[in-house]
């Protein structure tokens, strides 16, 4: 009786470990489903939307300007942020508002990216904490799956003017 229970327990533990490892490999190397919260990516991604993120671009270093990425927060490694890539390494970024008299530029350092939310008024992003190292990026969001009336690939940035015309390297 005890041996039967013990055998069943071991089998259950074995299956749990096996499926846990397969799930880890899938999330780490292929992609996963995420829930986004917060207003910083409106109107592209609303609060409590469910999106699908893929991790292959990160491993093959194929993240482009205009991609929406999930990254670890620079000030809190246990939480994730979801922003759009405005500039890659070497790009020139406008760091003050174009309406102001003093326009200041800065260059994105090597190995970093510049992230901004689509909702510029209500987003804490690289304008606040500076360029983000590429190693913090976890994946690229490319498909929204909930709400169903907004199902599909994600729109381009509503802030096209933030992308620098002169992309110097």
């Amino acid at each position: 009786m005890l041996r039967g229970v013990l055998g069943k327990t071991f089998r259950l533990v074995g299956y749990t470990i096996q499926y846990g490892c397969i799930a880890h490999c899938a999330f780490e190397y292929v992609g996963g489903v995420l829930v986004c919260s917060g207003p910083s990516m409106e109107p592209t991604i609303q609060n409590s939307d469910i999106v699908f993120a893929e991790n292959l671009s990160r491993h093959f270093y194929g993240i482009q300007r205009g991609d929406i990425v999930v990254a670890k927060s620079p000030s809190d490694p246990k939480s994730n942020i979801c922003k759009r890539v405005i500039g890659l390494e070497g790009d020139k970024i406008l760091t003050s508002s174009p309406a102001g008299f003093f326009k200041s530029h800065s260059y994105v350092p090597k190995g970093h990216v510049w992230l901004e939310g689509d909702n510029l008024q209500n987003s804490t992003d690289s304008r606040y904490y500076g360029p983000v190292p590429y190693g913090l990026i976890r994946g690229r969001i490319f498909l929204k799956i909930w709400p169903l009336n907004d199902f599909g690939f994600l729109r381009d940035s509503p802030n096209g003017h933030r992308f620098s015309d002169e992309l110097g390297k």
Binding site: G20, I22, H24, E28, K72, S75, P77, P133, G135, L136
Partner: protein, 230 residues
């Protein structure tokens, strides 16, 4: 007569699974003992050669293939998860951590045990030797010692600011070989999210087997640590 005939015949195809070649001679032997004229063969009669023999050998290949696939899908995810989440080994290159690591320079590289499990909650202590993703080159991992945690004020050596307060969620890392090290004195504090693993032991060469101690070099004592402020 029968005994000689049976034992000298080689089985056509092979029995089921990897134990087949071992079971066959045993059962043939048993088939002989005490049965005299009747020969019990297991599982295929050697007289039925030809087409049936060929089909059985293909069935053997298919069974091995199935067993291999099953093993593959169990073993590979478990191994990959173990190497990503628990521990792995790595060779150290370069002279930035001399004399703690690689004291022989290019003659012999140390191999260290990297422990991912200890840093799964991003908990590090001052003096730990850690590996992290390089902030300047995401394809490379660098191995340095943690000098300061968030909130500490560091007196830098070669940085553009003399004193730096480490921001929230960041750490200050330095190599032991000052002047020959690409570390926080060049690129500033690094985010904890880039932390990869904690190096705990040297595994190779055998004469350098040791546990790596978490000790701050005496000349790198902090100006002011977070605990002093409280």
């Amino acid at each position: 007569m029968c005994a000689c005939a049976c034992l000298s015949e080689a089985p056509r195809g092979s029995g089921p699974g990897p134990l087949g070649p071992f079971l066959l001679p045993l059962t043939r032997g048993f088939g002989q003992i005490g049965r005299g004229h009747k020969i019990t063969t297991y599982p295929f009669s050697p007289r039925k050669k030809g087409r049936k023999g060929m089909v059985q050998s293909q069935g053997w290949v298919r069974r091995y293939f199935k067993a291999f696939c099953k093993g593959f899908f169990v073993a590979v995810p478990v191994a990959v998860t173990f190497l990503d989440r628990v521990a792995c080994v790595a060779r150290v290159e370069g002279a930035s951590m001399q004399p703690s690591l690689n004291p022989g320079g290019s003659q012999s590289s140390d191999v260290v045990l990297l422990n991912h499990w200890k840093v799964r909650n991003f908990e590090v202590q001052r003096g730990d030797i850690v590996s992290l993703v390089s902030p300047k080159n995401p394809e490379q991992k660098i191995i340095k010692r943690v000098i300061a945690l968030e909130g500490d004020i560091v007196k830098t050596m070669g940085h553009k600011n003399r004193y730096v307060k480490v921001p929230r969620g960041h750490i200050w890392v330095e190599g032991d070989h000052h002047g020959h090290s690409f570390d926080s004195n060049s690129f500033g504090p690094v985010s904890l999210g880039l932390l990869h693993a904690h190096a705990t032991h040297i595994l190779w060469p055998p004469k350098r087997w040791q546990k790596l101690e978490s000790v701050l070099p005496p000349e790198r004592l902090l100006v002011q640590s977070e605990e002093d402020c409280l």
